[in-house]
């Protein structure tokens, strides 16, 4: 089976400043269906640029990128938008939900564009509810983002990313704005989705978060310096259980034994 993401000798050079910035210098990469990849690297390593390229938000200066067999480099702005809408799901660091818009409507958003125009209002609503259910937020459908916790907001964002049944779910620092416990919860959601067959690529700079993935890629100065399968993978459910035990222990210690 052909890889979902197929990148060959991809380069990205920014010409906007005085000196051209060579952000990605020849990355080749195959990602197959069902993978769960973490892109890691220090700031300035080119991971965000690579993520934008993967997300079809930007076009490579050199090299080819095939997403689900489609060569991206020849597409124009609107074709790229349609491709993003059809093949990709996005989860951002800052959640990026529309303010004063209910969770359900946020999830519906991708269905308002692209080929989904012909879906009926009821179909759109049903599909959005399904996705909210898969991240365990059915009971928060009518809440506004400011009425939700950070973890809940990120789960709404994940549901929004899933709603068009994408080939790849791209997550840019999905746990960057979350505390450690909520981060584990969100990683749990990702692991569950991955088990259900969804391909996930995420950018993170936290090593312990990367350990929840199946494959880690490390970038430095625009090239991949390490590409390895995760040994001794963390499982969110177990980590949560551990956290719970630790908390209970802490409480017992903290409360004075009368």
């Amino acid at each position: 089976m052909a890889p979902v993401v197929q990148i060959e000798e991809i380069h990205k050079i920014y010409e906007s400043g005085e000196v051209p910035v060579h952000a990605v210098r020849g990355v080749s990469l195959d990602i197959h269906k069902g993978e769960f990849v973490a892109l890691m690297g220090a700031s300035g390593s080119g991971k965000s640029t690579l993520m934008n390229l993967l997300g079809c938000l930007d076009r490579p200066t050199k090299g080819t990128y095939k997403l689900d067999g489609i060569d991206v480099s020849g597409l124009d702005k609107n074709e790229l938008a349609d491709l993003r809408n059809r093949k990709l799901g996005f989860v951002f660091q800052g959640f990026n939900l529309l303010a004063r818009t209910s969770a359900l409507e946020n999830v519906e958003l991708p269905m308002l564009y692209g080929r989904h125009r012909r879906m009926s209002t009821a179909q759109i609503r049903d599909r959005a509810m399904e996705c909210l259910e898969s991240v365990g937020l059915t009971n928060r459908a009518d809440h506004m983002p400011n009425q939700l916790s950070g973890g809940q907001q990120q789960r709404v964002a994940i549901a929004r990313g899933l709603v068009n049944q994408p080939q790849v779910l791209l997550a840019d620092e999905p746990t960057g704005n979350l505390d450690s416990r909520t981060s584990v919860e969100v990683m749990g959601v990702f692991q569950k989705l991955n088990e259900a067959g969804i391909t996930i690529v995420m950018v993170t700079h936290e090593l312990d978060i990367a350990r929840y993935c199946k494959r880690n890629l490390i970038l430095r100065d625009g090239v991949v310096v390490r590409d390895e399968a995760v040994k001794d993978r963390s499982i969110a459910a177990e980590e949560l259980a551990k956290l719970k035990t630790a908390e209970t222990a802490a409480k017992l210690l903290a409360s004075p034994a009368a």
Binding site: N52, G55, L57, D58, K77, N78, A81, D82, R84, N85, R86, F90, F92, N96, L98, A99, R100, T101, L109, P110, L112, Y113, G114, R117, R160, N164
Partner: protein, 402 residues
């Protein structure tokens, strides 16, 4: 994006900043309100003038004599007396679709009666005159064709003359003297009031035109010919016929007459008020443009504020066109809101103007249509630039915007 959700999103965005939306719309409200008010005032004045013109009579065509010229001096209209009774008779006999003809002879003279005297207008007319002028006889009756033929010394007088010469008695059957000739009063005209041009229409004595020409003014020509068309639709055709007939009767000589319809008279009378209306409308339109700039300003602010939202929409598959439409619809709704409120305030203002300032107003239905059209066009024009700015955003930049 589908249209219904675009509208919903736009309404939500406007509701989010209620105060700002209303203040922005205020520019449009004032502009549209001013247009509606000004047009309704102009319209009301025009209707009032038209009513006054209609009171002059029904479908009247007037034939005026041409200008005279002697030794290089050219007089204006009516300076020569070139119309004859025969011209009037020819019109009556040959032109179709007319209901009445009255050769008019006008003069001012001192009138005596009862030991009182009064200087007034002495008009020679035919018996058709009250009918043509849509003017009722309230006592007695109009003189007859027989009176015209026999140069009878009979008169029908207006209310002002009654007040001046017969203050305390019934004027019917009384005698008044014009140039020392006794005329018997056979009828009294209804009160008509002042004309469009400010003269007292009731200050008049009407006698048969034949009596006027032979006994009073002793002239061979008539002042004007009044013709009543049978219907307003045929007035122009009748006018043309009269012109043709009179030209033919001049046998190749330079036409020495002018034919005017009542509509033309009305047009002259309303021209001034229309010019004023257009001037004021121009001012109001300028304020609309200023309102439009306000809309543009706020839309630019709105685009900047919502850069991230635009970035999200673009990232998940919105085309530039979808974003463009969204902001355009928002701008159009904003100015339409202003338009609707402007229409209401315009209607209110013109009612106040007519109640407290006595200015006649009449809301023109077309002005409401135009107001709605103009305000959506303003939204479209002034919203286009901000919307284009939004549509051209780069999703990566927009998502990173703080």
């Amino acid at each position: 994006m589908r249209f219904s959700s675009t509208i919903r999103v736009a309404l939500r965005a406007l509701r989010r900043n209620k105060m700002r939306s209303i203040l922005t719309a205020l520019g449009i409200i004032i502009g549209i309100g001013a247009v509606i008010t000004v047009v309704s005032m102009g319209n009301g004045t025009k209707a009032r003038i038209e009513a006054q013109v209609a009171a002059l009579g029904r479908n009247i065509i007037t034939v005026y004599p041409g200008s005279s010229s002697s030794g290089g001096m050219r007089g204006g209209f009516g300076s020569s007396v070139t119309l004859t009774v025969e011209d009037a008779e020819a019109i009556a006999a040959e032109v179709a679709d007319i209901d009445g003809v009255s050769p008019e002879v006008r003069d001012r003279n001192q009138v005596l009666a009862n030991g009182l005297n009064w200087s007034t207008n002495i008009n020679g007319e035919s018996p058709d005159y009250p009918y043509i002028k849509n003017w009722n006889i309230v006592a007695g009756s109009m003189f007859s064709d027989q009176d015209v033929k026999s140069l009878a010394k009979v008169a029908v007088i207006g209310k002002t003359v009654v007040d001046q010469l017969f203050p305390n008695e019934d004027p019917i059957g009384q005698t008044l003297r014009i140039r020392n000739l006794p005329f018997r009063v056979v009828g009294v005209l209804d009160v008509k009031g002042f004309s469009l041009f400010g003269s007292d229409q009731d200050d008049v004595v009407i006698i048969p035109y034949t009596s006027h020409m032979k006994r009073v003014s002793r002239r061979a020509n008539i002042s004007t010919i009044l013709v009543q068309g049978a219907s307003p639709e045929k007035l122009d055709v009748v006018k043309q016929h009269i012109e043709d007939l009179l030209t033919q009767r001049r046998k190749g000589r330079e036409p020495d007459f002018t034919v005017r319809t009542q509509e033309e008279l009305a047009a002259t009378a309303t021209a001034n008020s229309e010019a004023m209306t257009f001037l004021l409308m121009g001012v109001a339109l300028v304020s609309l443009v200023v309102g439009g700039i306000g809309v543009m300003n706020i839309m630019l602010v709105s685009v900047t504020e919502r850069t991230r939202e635009i970035g999200i929409r673009l990232a998940i598959g919105a085309h530039g066109r979808d974003v463009l439409t969204q902001f355009l619809i928002e701008a159009i709704l904003l100015s339409l809101l202003g338009g609707v409120l402007g229409i209401l305030s315009g209607i209110g203002a013109s009612n106040l103007a007519s109640i407290y300032m006595g200015i006649p107003t009449l809301i023109a239905p077309w002005s409401i249509g135009v107001a709605v059209g103009v305000s959506s066009v303003i939204g479209l024009c002034f919203g286009f630039f901000p919307a284009l700015k939004a549509a051209r955003l780069d999703p990566i930049e927009a998502l990173r915007y703080e």
